[in-house]
C-alpha cells in the first residue's frame, strides 16, 4: 500500500469520494431539493472528499512543526 502515501493518489481517492457524494446528492435531492437518507450519505461522502486534502496537509504541517521543535 505504499502508493497510498503518494499525495496524488490520496487526492485521487478524495476526488472519487467527492464524485460519489455528488452523484448520491443529485439522485437523492434532485426531485424536490429535499434531503433523504441517500442525499445525506452523499453530503457526508462529498464533505469527506473535499476535506481529505486539507486534513492530509494539516497533518503534514503538524508533523513538520513537531519535528522542528524536537530538533530545537
Amino acid at each position: 500500500m505504499a502508493w497510498l502515501r503518494d499525495r496524488a493518489w490520496q487526492q485521487g481517492i478524495a476526488i472519487l469520494l467527492a464524485l460519489a457524494g455528488a452523484v448520491l446528492i443529485y439522485f437523492g435531492a434532485r426531485p424536490a431539493g429535499e434531503l433523504g437518507g441517500v442525499a445525506l450519505t452523499g453530503i457526508v461522502l462529498f464533505a469527506t472528499g473535499i476535506a481529505l486534502p486539507l486534513i492530509v496537509e494539516l497533518l503534514r504541517m503538524h508533523r513538520e512543526d513537531t519535528a522542528r521543535s524536537e530538533d530545537v
Partner: protein, 553 residues
C-alpha cells in the same frame, strides 16, 4: 435570482466576502496548495450560507453538485491538454519547435509577443473554455519561458478577448439581460475599454521581458498589432459583434509573421530576460523542476508543431463551418435541477439542462483527438519508445489529479456563494454605499468578481448585468458606461480565475501548488487594467449625464 428580502448590512457583507478573502490569503499570501485553500473556502462558504444567509442544506448540497458538474468539464480540458503536453515532451517536439521557430526568427521577444499575445487572442476569438491557454502555454514553455510565466503571459495576452471572443457570446448575454439605453455607445465604450486592456497587455508583456529596453524593442510590434486589434475591434463590433475579434485576430497573426521576417530577424538585444529559463532553453522544464528528455532524433518543425496544427484545424473547422458545427453541437446534455430558494428569497430557477455539455464541440475532445493522433504518429515514427506508454499515462493522471481536486472544491465554493445570495450581497453592498462616480469606478470590480468566481465573462454578465443596469439608473449614471465596465471587468476577472490558472498549470505540467505564485504574477496587470477601465467609466458618466428621459443627455 431576485432576493428582495436580502438585507444589506456590514456584517453580512463581510461574511459574504470571508470565503473569498480566506482563499486569496491562503493561496496568494501564505502560498497554500490550491486544493487545501479551496477546501477551507468551501467549508467556510457552506457554513456562512447555512448560518447567516438562510440557505437550506439542500440548496448548499445541490449548488455543490452543480459545481462538480462544471469542474468535470474543465477537467476534461486539463487532462487531455496535459496528455498532449506529455506526448509532445516525450517525443522531443518542444525542442524541435524551439529550433524551428528560431530558424524563422531568433528574436525571443517576438516569440513571446506572438505566442503569448497575438496567438491566444486569435484562439479566444473563435473558441474558449481555456483552449487558448491550453495551447499557448506549452508552446511558450517550448520557446524557453519559465513555467509560471508560460502560464501567466498568455492569460494576460488573451484577457481582453473574452467579451467579443468565442464569437461574441458574452456580449450577446449582456444585451439579453440588460438594457444599455444606447447600444451603439455601449459597444463603442466597451471596445475602447478592451482596446486599452489589449495595449496594456502588449506593453506589460514587453516590459516583463526586458523592462524599458524590452518596450523600446517591442514598439514596432506593439504599434502594428495594437492598431490592427484596436481598429478592427472598434470598427467591426458595432456592425457584427461576433466577428469583432476574429477578423483583427487573423490580420494580427499575418502581421506578426511579416514582422518576424522583416523587422525582428535578429536576436533580441535584451540579455538574460527574467522570463526565460537559463541554460538550454530547448529542453522544457516540467513543473516538478526536472528536465525533460533530450531528443535524440531531429524532428522537422511541421511534425513537431503537428499536434497543435491538428488542434487548431479541428477548432476552426468545427466552430466556423456551419454544416459541421450544427449537427455536432446538437449532441448536448445537462443535468436538471429543481428551483432552490433561501430564506431571504434568493431563488435559483429550476433548469432542465444545467450547463449543457456538448461533447463533440468541446475543446477537451479536440485536445484528446489531437493527442491520440500525435501519439500514434510519434510512436509509429519511433519518436516515442514502446516502454514509455505507461509512463506517459501515469504522469498525465498524477499531474492532473491535484488540479482536478482543486477544481472540485473551488467551483462548488463559487456555486454556493451564488446560490446563497452571497455574491449578490457583495455587489449590492458596493452599489448601496458608493456614490455615482465612485460606483462607476467600482463597476468593473463587480464584473471582475463575477468573472473571477465563475471563470467566465459570459456568466459574470448574466449574474451582474441587470444589477449593474439597475444600480446605474438608481444613481443617475448612464448605463452604457457601467455595462461596458461590467463586461470589460468580467473579461479581466475571468482570465485570472483560479480555474483558468489551474488549467494553464496543468497544460505545462506544473503543480497546482503554484496557483498562488501564478496569480501573483498576473495581479499587477489585472489591477491596473481594472483601474483604467473604472477611470474611463467615471469620465464617461461625467461627460454623458443621464437625460430626463432616462437615456443619455
Amino acid at each position: 435570482m431576485t432576493g428582495a428580502d436580502l438585507p444589506i448590512t456590514l456584517l453580512l457583507w463581510l461574511a459574504a466576502a470571508a470565503p473569498l478573502a480566506a482563499v486569496f490569503v491562503l493561496l496568494v499570501g501564505l502560498r497554500w496548495k490550491a486544493s487545501s485553500a479551496a477546501s477551507v473556502g468551501y467549508f467556510l462558504a457552506a457554513f456562512i450560507a447555512l448560518l447567516l444567509f438562510e440557505a437550506s442544506l439542500g440548496t448548499v448540497a445541490l449548488q455543490s453538485v452543480k459545481g462538480v458538474w462544471d469542474a468535470l468539464f474543465i477537467a476534461y480540458v486539463i487532462a487531455p491538454a496535459l496528455l498532449l503536453y506529455e506526448i509532445s515532451d516525450e517525443a522531443g517536439a518542444f525542442g524541435a519547435i524551439r529550433r524551428g521557430i528560431e530558424a524563422i526568427t531568433p528574436n525571443d521577444l517576438l516569440h513571446i509577443l506572438a505566442f503569448g499575445w497575438v496567438f491566444p487572442f486569435f484562439l479566444q476569438s473563435i473558441t474558449g473554455f481555456g483552449a487558448p491557454i491550453a495551447v499557448a502555454a506549452p508552446l511558450l514553455l517550448a520557446m524557453g519561458l519559465k513555467p509560471l510565466w508560460a502560464v501567466a503571459i498568455p492569460i494576460i495576452g488573451h484577457a481582453w478577448g473574452k467579451t467579443f471572443g468565442t464569437l461574441g457570446v458574452a456580449w450577446e448575454a449582456l444585451t439579453q439581460v440588460a438594457d444599455a439605453a444606447d447600444s451603439l455607445l455601449a459597444i463603442t465604450v466597451t471596445g475602447i475599454m478592451l482596446v486599452l486592456a489589449d495595449l496594456l497587455a502588449g506593453f506589460t508583456i514587453a516590459w516583463l521581458y526586458g523592462r524599458w529596453r524590452g518596450v523600446r524593442e517591442a514598439l514596432p510590434a506593439l504599434l502594428v498589432v495594437g492598431v490592427i486589434h484596436a481598429a478592427g475591434q472598434l470598427a467591426i463590433a458595432p456592425i457584427a459583434p461576433n466577428l469583432a475579434n476574429v477578423i483583427p485576430g487573423t490580420l494580427a497573426l499575418a502581421a506578426i509573421i511579416f514582422l518576424a521576417r522583416r523587422v525582428y530577424n535578429q536576436p533580441s538585444a535584451v540579455a538574460d530576460s527574467p522570463l526565460m529559463r537559463q541554460g538550454d532553453p530547448g529542453t522544457p522544464v516540467t513543473g516538478g523542476g526536472e528536465p525533460g528528455p533530450i531528443p535524440e532524433r531531429s524532428m522537422p518543425l511541421g511534425i513537431a508543431f503537428g499536434p497543435y496544427l491538428i488542434l487548431i484545424g479541428l477548432i476552426l473547422a468545427v466552430e466556423l463551418i456551419p454544416f459541421l458545427n450544427e449537427p455536432l453541437s446538437s449532441v448536448r446534455f445537462g443535468l436538471s435541477f429543481p428551483s432552490l430558494a433561501t430564506g431571504y428569497g434568493i431563488v435559483t430557477n429550476a433548469t432542465e439542462a444545467y450547463s449543457e455539455f456538448s461533447p463533440l464541440t468541446h475543446p477537451g475532445t479536440f485536445l484528446l483527438v489531437s493527442s491520440l493522433i500525435a501519439f500514434w504518429y510519434f510512436r509509429s515514427r519511433g519518436y516515442i519508445g514502446a516502454g514509455r506508454v505507461d509512463e506517459i499515462a501515469i504522469d498525465t493522471v498524477k499531474t492532473s489529479i491535484p488540479t482536478v481536486m482543486a477544481l472540485f472544491a473551488f467551483l462548488p465554493l463559487a456555486l454556493v456563494l451564488q446560490g446563497a445570495g452571497m455574491v449578490l450581497e457583495l455587489a449590492r453592498g458596493i452599489a448601496q454605499v458608493a456614490s455615482g462616480p465612485v460606483y462607476a469606478l467600482l463597476s468593473p470590480v463587480i464584473g471582475s468578481l463575477g468573472g473571477f468566481l465563475t471563470g467566465s465573462a459570459l456568466s459574470s454578465n448574466i449574474l451582474f448585468g441587470a444589477l449593474q443596469q439597475q444600480a446605474a439608473e438608481a444613481l443617475g449614471l448612464h448605463p452604457a458606461f457601467v455595462l461596458a465596465a461590467q463586461t470589460a471587468g468580467a473579461s479581466i476577472g475571468a482570465s485570472i480565475a483560479i480555474s483558468t490558472v489551474l488549467l494553464g498549470l496543468g497544460a505545462v505540467g506544473a503543480g497546482s501548488e503554484q496557483t498562488g505564485n501564478a496569480i501573483r504574477k498576473m495581479l499587477p496587470y489585472a489591477a491596473v487594467t481594472i483601474l483604467a477601465i473604472g477611470l474611463i467609466a467615471i469620465i464617461g458618466v461625467l461627460v454623458f449625464p443621464v437625460g430626463a428621459n432616462g437615456t443619455g443627455g
